[in-house]
Symmetry: C2
Subunit: 598 residues, 2 copies
């Protein structure tokens, strides 16, 4: 089995040509982000991902994490890999320097995160959740909480978790029932059961810092009565050493379709008198704090889609070059050929490659905009960048994850019968990918966010700017013309038109017939994702064209960028009109299905 090789060349191309690395490097606080640093950090990370994390991916899947009593044992090698990960400073990449972090821009940490996720998604979930917990404490925690927890978490000495879900409260967080009782000393006692808690218990670090949603006594009903608490596994003494064991325990592990090595825990709080917790931020504002982190979390899960698609593509490409079967259809005789010579295998591989590159490009462009939104000195630029990020987050999450299921499933198909055998490895990526459209908000939740808060609320202003930009890119392609750019330009233009018509329909429908708007939300989000992806590949083709014109020596790579954009135009963007039809004409029949009457 081959190990993951980080696609550094494509990453660098996207960072520089599409996502504005130079602009990001010029932002305040990004002075260290030199080309040399970027190259060095990508190479180091690639080495760690390919050399340490990737070899544990399949073995971790087979072994899984297991529960003994209330203790979780991670698979063989996990503990050592985590220690190296923390010691190498990878847990600290994105955090603020004042807490020991390296303060790298999101654009760069995104690139590294793709590597962790692609090489070993189950492993990567631990630092991902920890980052969310760090952000919650940093942004709304008291100075005391920050002093106790942040340095250790940034250094990777302790990890963090997010405790939202309960059996009756999945997507519907208003239904949370866990409760917290105030104590005389200013702390709280937390009671309740939480499910689906990723790395809720493990053996990687001596302490685990849980962030828990719970209700205070007499809290309002619904989402406006939920508060956020820090509940550490071990209480922390004044000198920073570990104190008493807190009243929180893992009572069960889920048996899941994928990410077997990542322990998904049922957590029991307060079975023996109450778990000691500390309030984060204001009472009843827990969900608002969660929402602050939600953009980052949804973006991170979208990146899982990119990463798993990349991993599946690498393995399928390699297999298709090695597996000898049948003859070239143009020759019919002669020697047997590697299956990559079969036209449909090329088609499948190009579907994998083109969609993966489109998703990566869009994700990095959004990451670059995140840095601008946070750090740019000009307020208008910050506001616009944030508007773009807000618009795109549900697309990066919803579209990339849905597409990753298609791409990883194609990866199985390229392998034929071997793809169905677990030892081959292709099936794991499909199993792992299958969670990404569900957690951190299902695809429908992303789509509802997209049509409601992101399009209807500003009356299409933000998406209108993107549509205008796409049309400019399409026009630029059309001017260059020829077989490739002509098709790319025409398809992107047609895609933009299909999306624009759908947005017009939505703006009219959303206030009047919200049910119909919601019935078309997922098709509209899928249409938007496909068109935005085509936009990024067209930009990539234009950049490649420019560089070829400027005499760049890497002609093969650059020409592939142009061909990939053309393939995507004919095979993926070509779905745009059909999706627009479905958005505009398909909603009423969905609601009239009669399913409710049966």
């Amino acid at each position: 089995m081959s190990e993951y090789v980080a696609p550094i060349k494509d990453m660098q191309f996207v960072l520089r040509e599409l996502a504005g690395l130079d602009e990001v490097a010029a932002l305040p606080g990004c002075d260290d982000v030199s080309p040399d640093l970027v190259e060095a950090i990508l190479e180091e990370a690639a080495k760690f991902a390919g050399g340490v994390l990737s070899p544990l991916n399949a073995t971790g899947d087979r072994e899984g994490s297991r529960l003994d009593g209330n203790a979780v044992t991670t698979p063989k090698g996990w503990k050592d890999a985590y220690r190296q990960f923390a010691e190498s400073g990878w847990t600290a990449v994105a955090a603020e320097p004042e807490h020991g972090g390296q303060g790298l821009p999101t654009l760069l940490s995104t690139t590294l995160n793709e590597m962790w996720k692609a090489s070993n998604m189950a492993f990567s979930l631990c630092p991902m959740l920890t980052n969310g917990a760090i952000e919650a404490i940093r942004s709304r925690g008291s100075d005391a909480l920050k002093a106790i927890f942040l340095d250790k978490m940034v250094a990777g000495e302790w990890t963090g978790t997010m405790n939202l879900t309960e059996p009756q409260a999945g997507s519907d967080l208003a239904a949370v029932r866990a409760r917290a009782e105030p104590q005389a000393d200013g702390t709280y006692r937390v009671f309740g059961q939480k499910i689906f808690i990723t790395y809720g218990e493990h053996d990687l670090t001596p302490n685990i810092v849980h962030l828990v949603l719970a209700r205070l006594p007499e809290a309002p009903e619904g989402v406006k009565g939920i508060s956020l608490f820090v509940v550490p596994k071990f209480l922390v003494n004044a000198d920073g050493s570990l104190g008493a064991r807190n009243d929180v325990r893992c009572v069960s592990l889920e048996h899941k379709l994928g990410i077997h090595a990542s322990p998904t825990c049922v957590m029991a709080y307060g079975d023996e008198g109450g778990a000691v917790g500390y309030l984060v931020g204001q009472p009843h504002h827990g969900l608002a704090i969660m929402f602050i982190m939600m953009n980052a979390a949804r973006f991170a899960v979208g990146l899982e889609g990119v990463a798993l698609a990349e991993r599946a593509w690498q393995r399928a490409l390699q297999f298709s070059r090695e597996r000898i079967q049948g003859y070239d259809p143009a020759e019919k005789a002669g020697a047997r050929v590697p299956i990559i010579r079969h036209p449909d295998v090329q088609r499948m591989l190009m579907l994998m490659k083109s969609q993966t590159e489109a998703m990566r490009a869009l994700a990095y462009v959004v990451a670059g905009a995140t840095d601008k939104a946070e750090r740019h000195p000009d307020e208008l630029t910050r506001t616009r960048a944030q508007g773009f990020v807000d618009l795109m987050i549900p697309i990066v999450k919803g579209w990339s994850t849905e597409t990753s299921i298609e791409v990883t499933s194609l990866g199985v198909q390229v392998h034929g019968g071997m793809g169905y055998i677990e030892e081959t490895g292709a099936a794991q990526y499909l199993r792992d990918a299958r969670i990404t459209t569900i957690y951190e908000g299902t695809t429908a939740i992303q789509a509802n966010d997209f049509i409601g808060r992101k399009i209807a609320r500003d009356k299409g202003a933000a998406i209108g700017l993107v549509l205008a930009e796409m049309r400019e890119v399409a026009a630029h392609c059309t001017v260059i013309g020829g077989e490739n750019f002509g098709r790319v330009g025409a398809s992107l233009n047609a895609g933009a038109n299909a999306l624009a018509s759908s947005v017009v329909w939505l703006l009219r429908t959303f206030p009047e017939l919200p049910g119909e708007a919601h019935a078309s939300a997922v098709p509209l989000m899928r249409l938007a994702g496909i068109v935005f992806g085509g936009w990024q590949l067209a930009r990539a083709a234009l950049a490649a064209h420019r560089r070829i014109g400027a005499g760049d020596a890497d002609k093969h790579f650059l020409e592939a960028k142009i061909i990939t954009a053309r393939f995507y135009a004919d095979h993926v963007l070509s779905q745009a009109d059909g999706l627009a039809h479905c958005v505009i004409n398909g909603a009423s029949v969905t609601l009239a299905s009669g399913l409710l009457d049966e």
Copy 2:
């Protein structure tokens, strides 16, 4: 967890209104097929599927079959279920009466097979493979072989297997290396290793009858040098009792993504001097015999797609009615609602339901045509029916299985986080479905068969007849008009046009640029499947319209048929133009991808 409930009402509707049960019942040899018999047999089978097979499906998946030495133990309850299955006569349904079979028409056995596959796909593979082996011996075996094996196999006392694949010979059977040496007594000694042998070893019956592809000495290279042999696990004495253990053993079981209970064996032939085998048919004609069975086998796997989609739909529907989460988007307040009230859940459910019904309808129509092709007294009618069957087999196989992956994956999505937990059961259907696009010829192989042998060879004659029929149905819908039939007619007509343009392109391209034709084969097959499915749902809507007009009391069911056709028109058929674009314009860029140069 809910058990499978056979959708007898929809099955009966399709049998009678779409697949021509009355015509089939009027064919020679089908005198027994009365409405009462059909009703009785469907109800008995439904009882067995829901009561015996369905409860073993999840437990069989969890336990799996296991290997001890060379012996395979099937999961708990399997042996008893198999005994009941055979004793109830279900193994004998389709076989010829002269061998103890019931000689039921294919249309009826198809309906039963859907039930076995939907209730327990891993179980159903054993009788399915046995049927293939029965058919091989019946059609080309000597009288002696028939006498020894057929009655026992039809009665379910012994099972059968098909041994084609070897490590280097998957889709490419020309690469088969297993060999057979003639002996003085007219038997052969068979040597070699076969992989992916379904139920190659098990504990359900005392004997297993392997059909094995192997090469005779000095056989020609390639597919024209492969012969077919019967190799029983135990030799059979003259009196029919079991004799010596033959030199064939299961040496390993595969660890697969799904169908865990179905033992997928590596079989070693001749490690201790040669396995005794008996030639079936003429030397070097083994593959031709396999091709005789291939239509039936491919159809059966296509039916697995229908069955798993049905099972996933049933479970998702039930869950969506029970799971309470969130509010009605049109109300936003009030009580929490079952998730079926959410528009996107309705959309997902309708995608599942409409595509499942479309696939079932097409499969049964093809089954009915199979009976006509075999039994109709008029030769021209037989020939035409066979032409239709030949055209449709790769669609039933390729389109239904690909669609079953989409439908079972939607089934997971409807369940949200619970869908990712194995105990819920939804994930198993996706895992089980994932093999169906691979075995019995991958999707690409179906598509290549479709464009080459089924369209290009007769210059589009057979598909031209179907296109004409579809346009008539579309016109009929348009005449009825109104919101539902208007859309159904327009979409079907547009779909037929998209398919016709693609066929015209194919007929021009296939002889001149075979590589391009093959690059567009899968998109063309998908387009055809989607349009044929729409055709069948339009026919169903017309039949429902007729019955409502005639005062049929089951108005709710019949109106749902019309709405389902309309939903499919707007949500699925609407992809037709985009796919035609991909077929006609997408091939050249696939072949120019540059993947081969890297």
